[in-house]
């Protein structure tokens, strides 16, 4: 399908205007606006730090997160080389936070990206096709959206035993509805534009319109939405764990650690409760800050154009 002509010219996807700024310039403007937004940078820094601690930390801080040690349960922070103490089965809490963070971040990112990709393709096809195809595709989205997502996730988690990849599929398979609606709206307004009609009159296919014009034009909205999807996915993993349908041990995630910590609320083991809780809040905040910053960046980009 890809002809050499398609890969040339970096200004495709924007209306042809004589005084048009090149695409790379627009991207650079977007990056500049993002960097001017202090909150967005803070969000990015929070994410980088949390991810570095979770993924690089275990290289320097070795703990056994597979075998339980019942001789060392509920140790207070600071004892026997456990800076954050140990949990109810003797896992080192700091090491567990790193391991749990890996799961939370991987599931959040993967589910967010999966949902965004599926939703974008679905919405672009529906919006571009129009007519009864659009109606049928979007009524299905409406129907699935009217089932509260947590009920749907739990129903599916009760059918299949959740593993990390299963969680990604379950959450990704139902979180794409929001992006689908967004992209469909964009596609509807884009498909009647002159440059797409011009492309079609020159013999371009509908698939080409979707791939080369509609998706690139909707990409700003989609990326902004994706960051919020990631934040939501991390929260959903936490809710599923709290409701007893998360990934079973020895795997861990912050939501599961937090809900395990709930049982220790009144026994004074604060190190089992607050660190995972704060970690979740920080990572979700980070993605919300990044999303807000990106939205400003893309909106300014559109305005200057």
């Amino acid at each position: 399908m890809t002809t050499p002509a398609e890969t040339t010219g970096n200004s495709e996807g924007t209306p042809a205007q004589p005084d048009e700024t090149p695409v790379r310039g627009l991207w650079r403007q977007g990056v500049e606006v993002f960097c001017e937004n202090r909150l967005a940078l803070v969000g990015l820094a929070m994410f980088v730090v949390l991810a570095a601690v979770c993924f690089l930390g275990p290289l320097f801080y070795h703990t056994d997160q597979v075998h339980t040690d019942l001789a060392a349960v509920h140790l207070s922070p600071g004892t026997d080389g456990h800076p954050l103490g140990t949990d109810g089965v003797g896992y080192d809490q700091l090491g567990r936070l790193m391991l749990g963070g890996q799961t939370s971040i991987i599931v959040g990112l993967a589910a967010g990206i999966l949902a965004t990709v599926v939703g974008t393709v679905w919405g672009a096809i529906a919006g571009f096709a129009g007519g009864w195809v659009d109606a049928a595709m979007m009524r299905l989205v409406d129907a699935m959206m009217s089932i509260p997502s947590l009920f749907l996730f739990m129903l599916l988690a009760a059918i299949v035993t959740p593993s990390v990849s299963m969680l990604i599929v379950i959450i990704g398979a139902f979180a794409w509805l929001g992006p689908a609606r967004l992209v469909r709206g964009e596609a509807l307004s884009l498909r009647s534009r002159e440059y797409i009609q011009a492309m079609r009159s020159m013999g371009g296919t509908g698939g080409r319109a979707v791939r080369r014009h509609i998706i690139p034009n909707a990409i700003g909205t989609v990326i902004v939405n994706a960051t919020f999807q990631v934040a939501d996915a991390i929260l959903y993993v936490a809710y599923l764990s709290f409701l007893g349908l998360g990934v079973p041990p020895p795997a861990a995630n912050w939501g599961g650690m937090l809900s395990d910590g709930l049982a220790d609320t009144f026994s004074g083991h604060w190190w089992l409760l607050y660190p995972p809780g704060i970690a979740i809040i920080l990572i979700v905040l980070a993605f919300n800050f990044i999303g807000d910053g990106l939205r400003d960046a893309f909106e300014v980009r559109l305005r200057r154009r």
């Binding site: 129907a143 997502s149 059918i159 409701l243 007893g244 609320t265 809780g277 979740i280 809040i281």
Partner: protein, 319 residues
């Protein structure tokens, strides 16, 4: 208006039919099918076959779906052998309690969110706006059960004025008889809702404050308070009515978590316990009912919006 009502009702019914198809498909995707889901792990193959035959599950799919819908129309959502109760009865006992919890927390959220949103819009990009925005983001980023737990620690442990558990009772009356126990679940569920609503009120008010009619009102010499409350707020609040409908799925998801945390005897808790026991007749029944409630809640919000704002019904029935 009548035309708009009929079109909107038709859309809602189409969505409900699609939802029944989704639950029907899930029912048959279950490992071992509907028979295994109803009769449980210990049932023998003969029992499964007998059940399939009795329920008509050995017939063609289309026929099965028609029978499924017929049963639904007769109010038959299946039977939970684990609760030894019909699904309709189990849901009927709990639905009113969840509705009361959702309604109370929505009312609380509206009462709190509207002033917050107005304050933000009138003091845009100054410290009250920034403070409320930050708190909203914080509320949004906190898992509801963690927030609820903080509430329990603060208000029933550190400063013991409220019970940590929701009122226990079989009927709605028994639950309502203990208002103190309802406070923490209601407030917990309302906090996130406030964050969402106030943000919406803020942007709606900001849009309206830039309109010409506001400039006219100001140039007539009206006081700023009069302009904001009497002129802008009325128009600014109309879109919030649709948000009430759109937010329902998230509200019910939140109620599921809150009910589980506070041990509130509603639909969410019923669903949660059924999920842990893999009680599929209950799971599918609750999913269906909660979705129908969402569809008709959204319908109600849309109709209400059209009723109060004539611009909407004119625009929509024209298109």
């Amino acid at each position: 208006m009548a035309r708009y009502l009929i079109v909107r009702l038709g859309q809602a019914l189409v969505i409900v039919v699609l939802v029944t198809i989704i639950t029907f498909v899930i029912l048959h995707l279950l490992p071992g099918g509907a028979a295994r889901a109803t009769l449980g792990k210990e049932a023998t193959l003969e029992q499964l076959a007998a059940f399939d035959h009795e329920m008509g599950y050995d017939r063609p799919w289309i026929q099965q779906y028609v029978m499924y819908v017929q049963r639904l129309l007769h109010g038959d959502l299946g039977y939970s052998f684990q609760l030894n109760q019909s699904v309709t009865e189990a849901i009927g006992q709990r639905l009113p309690k969840t509705m009361v919890l959702s309604l109370l927390s929505t009312l609380l959220a509206i009462v709190v969110a509207i002033p917050l949103g107005v304050i933000q819009a009138t003091r845009r990009n100054r410290w009250p706006d920034y403070t409320i925005t930050s708190l909203s983001l914080l509320a949004y980023a906190t898992p509801i059960f963690f927030l609820g737990l903080m509430m329990i620690i603060l208000f029933s442990q550190v400063w013991p004025i409220l019970p940590p558990e929701a009122p226990q009772g079989f009927t709605l009356g028994e639950v309502l008889a203990d208002p103190a126990g309802l406070v923490l679940p209601t407030v917990t569920l309302a906090v996130v809702t406030v964050a969402v609503y106030s943000r919406y009120v803020r942007s709606s008010m900001v849009d309206n404050l830039n309109e010409n009619y506001v400039r006219t009102a100001r140039s007539k010499g009206l006081s700023e308070g009069r302009v904001v409350v009497l002129h802008t707020l009325r128009n600014g609040l109309f879109p919030v009515i649709t948000l009430l409908g759109m937010y329902l799925p998230a509200l019910f998801s939140g109620a599921l978590v809150v009910e589980s945390l506070f041990n509130f005897p509603g639909m969410g808790q019923l669903f949660w316990q059924a999920a842990l026991k893999r009680d599929f007749p209950i799971l599918l029944g609750v999913t269906l009912i909660i979705s129908v409630a969402t569809v008709f809640g959204a319908l109600l919000a849309d109709v209400l919006y059209a009723a109060v704002d004539p611009r909407v019904r004119l625009r929509r029935s024209a298109s």
